[in-house]
Subunit: 431 residues, 2 copies
């Protein structure tokens, strides 16, 4: 099938998927979970094939680990699908109801976005998670996974397609892409595809953002900060900084820069250095930092670094305002935290830092769909429209305005024969 | 000032504007309304200068009419600003509150988008409306109006800037662009500008959409439909079609295509033709239409036409499904209506037509921010993310996730020392 045909097919199926009742979508999700259990041997055989080939081709150990569907991951994958059944349907929710006039009532009701293209990394369990989220939210999906996982992805996508079609979902709602050429072609399908969600390296996401007219939801970088205020509980600040930097360094919500108020720096910097030294973190400090503790030297470029490693930039700042300015200037709008005892200063930080997630007295590592209780996430977004931060089911829907009348015409209002009432109603869309 | 400086200035001001309390923003809106009354003579003198020059340059009469600030329009302009004072602040609303664990509480709170670039048509009153909406929603704004209105716009923008700055708003939150070169430069400022809203001709909007990496909110075309079902009340259908086509032809929510079920066509088409003839509407019919009533001949291209004139495409369809398919294929996702007595068929149409506004038994001309009771609109959007249909204050905000803790770290949860509670709270953000 050509990319054009695939995209047209998904678009058509997506239009029908939009009208599927909650019960039918949930039954289809249960059918996926059952099929994943029934077809376990076939899936693991395909995964074994991918693993053998990738090992032979010299894939790095961490990537091999991501590729492997071990028992725990398999169980989580199935439970992830089952857990979606219990979540409320994001589609068909009435966000606004207004009586414009007698017998003329306006509703704003959530509906699926349409056809979504998602490009994701090597984990084959991501395919199951993403397609289940799309199904629950009524969206058709074009998926492109990592080439290491090609056999596993092919089997998984085939099982999901046939299980859901047997359960009554429109044929073609899920399509698997297998080549880079198909991704290139997909990025040009702005007539058929409504949204692209890329997950992967900074360079990859930036490439996608710069090479399509389709709206893109995602984030290229995660340059996250922790600011330790002069009113901070120092013991707490050390704990938060150590967690935010070292709990898992290879992720976008780990901090890359520590900002410290000048008045607390003389006592705090030595304390945090001891704790970070114990974890093997290399520090890159500004001049004022290096007057207090020995570190590598920071340059202007340092503040834009996303290390994703046991490395941390450290800067002494004069004030809360200077910290906020630094974050808004060098940050990536992802996740930033303040440690302070002052409610007033926390409120100012939370209001003025222009990031998707802004935290007071806790680690930036909490910025995650599961930890937030969103059920799951398709990714984290740092753009300023539609959805921001961890994007769960809510980010996969948009709305329609539905107006129910009884032959009402605008001429009557233009000619002042009738006037609008605009009475807010506490009522769900009735059809 | 260079475009770079202007954009940087707006961005900086926007960050501060985000933290302005509701009362301060409302006081600034009242200051605008007062200044517009106080400076009436100066504004009208500038408008007179624009009118004189434009008349001399041979500007068409309808455009001259749009340019002229007559008494009624002036009054409406001032009242529009005053009416925003009474609307609820779209910023700072808590959309979600979850207790993740003891003392660790997540809030999703609305916040401004940031710096918005708006390019609008010749009406100078649009400048006042747009900038007031941006102020109420806490956004900085770069404005470019029609060149015919250059003097009026300059005076209006100056008055708004100084009135609001005197009222305590951050300097530079509103910037006026005056040249096309500046617009071109603005489209490249994706670091500083978060959203572009273009209003104007199809060609112009499409040009903007294709020449910027900044997200664009708007619509290029309005190919709206009315489908008359075999279960329609024919008298009602005639009234709705006549209003939707002729109440005001030059607007995007007027219908361009009439779809008629084959079983009702023999009686309905002659009736609707009589009514449309009386309004001077030229019909372009498919072959089956022309077997019943005389019309111009439609071609395949006909179905994509946006006439914005006393012209209407007419097609006989075999079923509700055929009507829905036609609309999803040829429509622009703007506004489409069905006339039918059948609740079941209405529900199906409303669910399956993939447009921003979908109506039952009323005219498409109702698709408008004022008529919807949204207060006002910055434009109508047909994209599938962020905001759709008439975009009012709600469309000018996004949200942040704010997490308040007491030294919480992720390691405790990863090591299973603590588990998440994810208890939904009915509580507003407390800071």
């Amino acid at each position: 099938m050509s990319m054009q045909e695939m995209a047209t097919r998904v678009k058509k199926a997506a239009l029908e998927l939009a009208a599927q009742p909650t019960g039918a979508k949930n039954a289809a999700l249960s059918a996926i979970a059952r099929a994943l259990m029934d077809e376990r041997d076939r899936i693991l055989a395909a995964n074994h094939e991918d693993l053998t080939r990738s090992e032979r081709e010299g894939l790095a150990a961490p990537l091999l680990k991501r590729l492997r569907l071990d028992d725990a991951k398999y169980q989580e994958m199935v439970e992830g699908v089952e857990s979606l059944v219990g979540l409320p349907d994001p589609v068909g929710r009435t966000a606004l109801a207004t009586e414009l006039d007698d017998g003329l009532t306006l509703y704003r009701v959530t509906c699926p976005i349409g056809a979504i293209g998602i490009i994701f990394e090597s984990r084959p369990d991501a395919l199951v998670q993403i397609s289940s989220l799309c199904l629950k939210s009524g969206n058709g999906v074009l998926l492109k996974g990592g080439s290491e996982a090609v056999e596993t992805n092919r089997v998984l996508a085939g099982i999901i397609a046939s299980a859901t079609e047997r359960a009554g979902m429109p044929a073609g709602w899920i399509q698997l892409l297998e080549t880079r050429a198909e991704v290139g072609a997909m990025l040009k399908m702005d007539e058929q595809i409504d949204l692209i969600i890329p997950r992967g390296s900074n360079e990859f996401v930036r490439y996608i953002m710069e090479n399509t007219k389709i709206p893109v939801l995602g984030h290229a970088e995660g340059v996250c900060h922790c600011y330790v205020d002069d009113d901070a509980d120092q013991e707490m600040a050390v704990r938060v900084v150590v967690d935010a930097k070292t709990q898992y360094v290879a992720v976008c919500n780990a901090i890359e820069t520590l900002l410290v108020h000048r008045d607390i720096a003389p006592s705090f910097l030595p304390a945090v250095k001891r704790a970070l030294d114990a974890k093997g973190v290399t520090l890159f400090g500004c001049e004022r930092t290096r007057e207090i503790i020995p570190t590598e030297a920071a340059s202007e470029d340092t503040w834009r670094n996303e290390y994703l490693d046991y490395k941390l930039s450290v800067k002494v700042v004069d004030s809360l305002e200077a910290a906020i300015d630094h974050i808004n200037r060098y940050g990536s709008g992802h996740t930033d935290a303040i440690v302070t005892r002052s409610k007033t200063k926390a409120a100012r930080f939370l209001s003025l830092v222009d990031s998707a997630d802004v935290f007071w007295n806790c680690s930036t590592r909490f910025a995650d769909g599961f930890r937030y209780g969103l059920g799951a996430e398709v990714g984290i977004a740092t753009a300023k429209i539609h959805a921001r931060g961890p994007v769960g089911l809510d980010g996969l829907v948009i709305y329609k305005y539905l107006l129910l009348g009884d032959g009402h015409v605008v001429a009557d209002y233009a000619e002042r024969k009738r006037t609008f009432k605009h009475r807010p109603l506490d009522r769900d869309f009735p059809l």
